[in-house]
């Protein structure tokens, strides 16, 4: 019985712990570092569910009927949780506590290719019509859709004003005067993240660090970088900003 008590306590602790962990991520907004905004409701339901299920272990030993006790012990025997399993289930909580939450950044790009405008190797094939937003309201994904839908983007866009935020990524092919401003696009969760980037012309590129979030104001100029021809964003200002509440864009 003693061990059953411990078993139940450990199970309840794990379930409630996971629930509280999800809840803490929900409250401090870092849940957006992991999943698409539209699934946050599911997480909220899971928080309640996990806590409810966890609490159900608490009352189990107050069930006095002989019948129940008998079948309960039989039941426990089948679902005994070893310490290793308990540790494994606690792993998300442990990692969550000891590794400070951070959205995907430049290092995730080391094994993903960044989609830069007309680069033919893109993972986001949706060529929906460019949104109706005015040019300074467009985010990186909106611009990127504009590139996709207009084959003559390179000449058409020249002179249009741009105001976007994203994180800095130093593309190895770029020289000293250019960098990428990038955002990840997430359909479900970070597992399917793909990166979109715009090429930015800025003389003191070297002083910017990878992963620094910046707001860039500027205009489009025609440009050619490496082997591709595509619009380059000539920046008038590059201002460091905080990581936005929702670091990813949702298609």
């Amino acid at each position: 019985m003693q061990t059953t008590k411990i078993q139940n306590a450990v199970k309840a602790l794990l379930l409630i712990g996971l629930g509280l962990f999800f809840y803490s991520r929900l409250v401090n907004g870092t849940l957006f570092f992991y999943i698409n905004q539209r699934f946050v409701g599911f997480t909220l339901v899971a928080v309640f569910g996990l806590i409810l299920v966890g609490l159900s272990y608490r009352y189990e030993r107050h069930e006095p009927t002989d019948d129940h006790d008998h079948n309960h012990e039989h039941h426990e025997h089948d679902h005994r949780l070893s310490w290793g399993s308990a540790l494994l289930i606690a792993l998300p909580i442990v990692l969550g506590i000891f590794v400070s939450p951070q959205p995907l950044g430049a290092s995730a790009l080391t094994n993903r290719e960044i989609n830069s405008g007309l680069n033919p190797l893109n993972t986001l094939g949706i060529a929906r019509a460019a949104s109706e937003k005015s040019s300074t309201e467009k985010n990186i994904m909106d611009w990127w859709k504009t590139f996709r839908t207009s084959p003559t983007a390179n000449t058409e866009l020249i002179g249009q004003k741009v105001d976007v935020i994203g994180f800095v990524y130093h593309e190895p092919n770029f020289g000293k005067d250019h960098f990428m401003v990038a955002r990840f696009v997430v359909s479900c969760c970070v597992a399917d993240a793909s990166a979109l980037g715009l090429a930015v012309q800025w003389p003191t590129t070297a002083s910017l660090k990878d992963d620094q979030w910046v707001e860039i104001k500027g205009t489009w100029v025609g440009g050619q970088l490496a082997q591709w021809q595509f619009p380059v964003l000539a920046a008038q200002s590059v201002t460091p900003v905080e990581v936005p509440n929702q670091p990813y864009l949702y298609p």
């Binding site: 569910g49 299920v53 951070q102 969760c189």
Partner: protein, 363 residues
């Protein structure tokens, strides 16, 4: 379809193995130590893989930390995304345990091979669950005496042939070959593989810890209990199931996150161009990404501009049946060699369908 004929001898092979060692008690210290070693070995392997790659390229410690950070973010992303669905499946499992009378299954489920497999593939319409939720439900139904073929067909079909996934696929693609192709082909593949397992006895394919007929012990006392006590028991069962399957989900998420941190994705996409290679590439991608079936249609939509139609269809049928996290979770239900077949058969069948589509219907 040709590949299936020889496979049908498989259940006969299985029945030879009835002398296999019977349930090792879970409390056996040796098995516990083994599990411990395997688990920590897996974690060590994950870490080693992460470190090796960067150490050999000679980049600094900060970069290494960044990469670990990426790994953790992806791991938590997959886990947080899947946990609500696993919990939902566990709750359904708990309710089945308490409220579903075993005789109901025996009375209403068809006995003959084909109708049984078809019924299994249709069960998803009654229990709408994704590939995480389906595992505890299938296991519980097995404990209630579900025949092997019905369970296998259910396990493979339910993540697609259910109202929620059909709705999300419709939202992404509208009416068209993607929607009906996905549903019909998933249904067909699941039925065929269910048929393959028709002759297998449940106890020969299931993990020893899944107790078939377990419900018999519970049946009588359950009836005597009041509604609140039964609900309470359902919650307890749900908790046990959640924790049990969560272990496999977490190991699967760890593996998937490792692959995602190390495998260059776009290389894969660059290789996958032609009518045949694109199908293989999308299968590997579906396996590695391990995205939930309720939402993967939106992801597939993103690929649809660049990839062949057949390969997208393969992604949509194969992905929900098999991916890194679900294959790990299968290990919580089936014996290892059965899991092997449950990975390989869908792989081959959906591959055939995708390639056939590309070559004969259109790209």
């Amino acid at each position: 379809m040709l590949t299936n004929k020889p496979r049908e001898v498989y259940p006969a092979d299985l029945s030879l193995d009835t002398t296999a060692p019977k349930p090792i008690p879970v409390t056996n210290p040796r098995s516990r130590i083994l599990r411990w070693v395997l688990t920590s070995g897996l974690i060590a392997l994950v870490l080693a893989a992460l470190f090796a790659d960067t150490l050999t390229s000679g980049v600094g410690k900060a970069f290494l930390l960044q990469r670990f950070q990426t790994f953790v973010t992806i791991f938590l992303g997959i886990f947080i995304e899947a946990a609500p669905f696993l919990l939902a499946g566990s709750l359904v499992s708990g309710l089945i345990e308490v409220f579903l009378d075993q005789s109901l299954l025996e009375r209403y489920l068809p006995k003959r091979a084909l109708p049984a497999a078809l019924a299994g593939a249709m069960l998803g319409m009654i229990f709408p669950v994704c590939e995480c939720g389906v595992v505890p439900v299938a296991r519980r139904l097995y404990e209630k005496g579900l025949p092997s073929s019905v369970g296998v067909a259910f396990l493979l079909a339910a993540p697609v042939v259910n109202p929620i996934v059909i709705a999300s696929t419709y939202a992404a693609f509208g009416w068209g070959p993607m929607l009906w192709g996905r549903v019909i082909f998933s249904f067909l593949v699941a039925t065929v593989i269910g048929l393959v397992f028709h002759l297998a006895k449940s106890q020969d394919i299931l993990q020893p810890r899944v107790h078939i007929g377990h419900a018999h012990h519970q049946h009588e006392p359950t009836v005597k209990l009041g509604l609140s006590a039964r609900l309470h028991q359902a919650l307890n069962t749900a908790g046990d199931d959640f924790l049990d399957v969560a272990r496999y989900l977490i190991m699967g998420s760890l593996l998937a996150a490792t692959m995602q941190t190390l495998v260059p994705q776009n290389l894969l996409l660059a290789i996958g161009r032609g009518p045949i290679m694109s199908v293989l590439a999308m299968q590997v991608l579906a396996f590695v990404l391990s995205v939930c079936s309720t939402v993967d249609a939106f992801l597939a939509l993103a690929f649809s501009g660049i990839f062949t139609t057949g390969s997208i269809l393969t992604f949509l049928t194969f992905g929900p049946m098999v991916d890194i996290k679900s294959s790990l979770m299968f290990l919580g239900v089936f014996q290892r060699r059965v899991v092997f077949y449950l990975i390989v058969l869908p792989l081959l069948l959906t591959m055939l369908i995708g390639i056939f589509w590309n070559l004969n219907v259109g790209i």
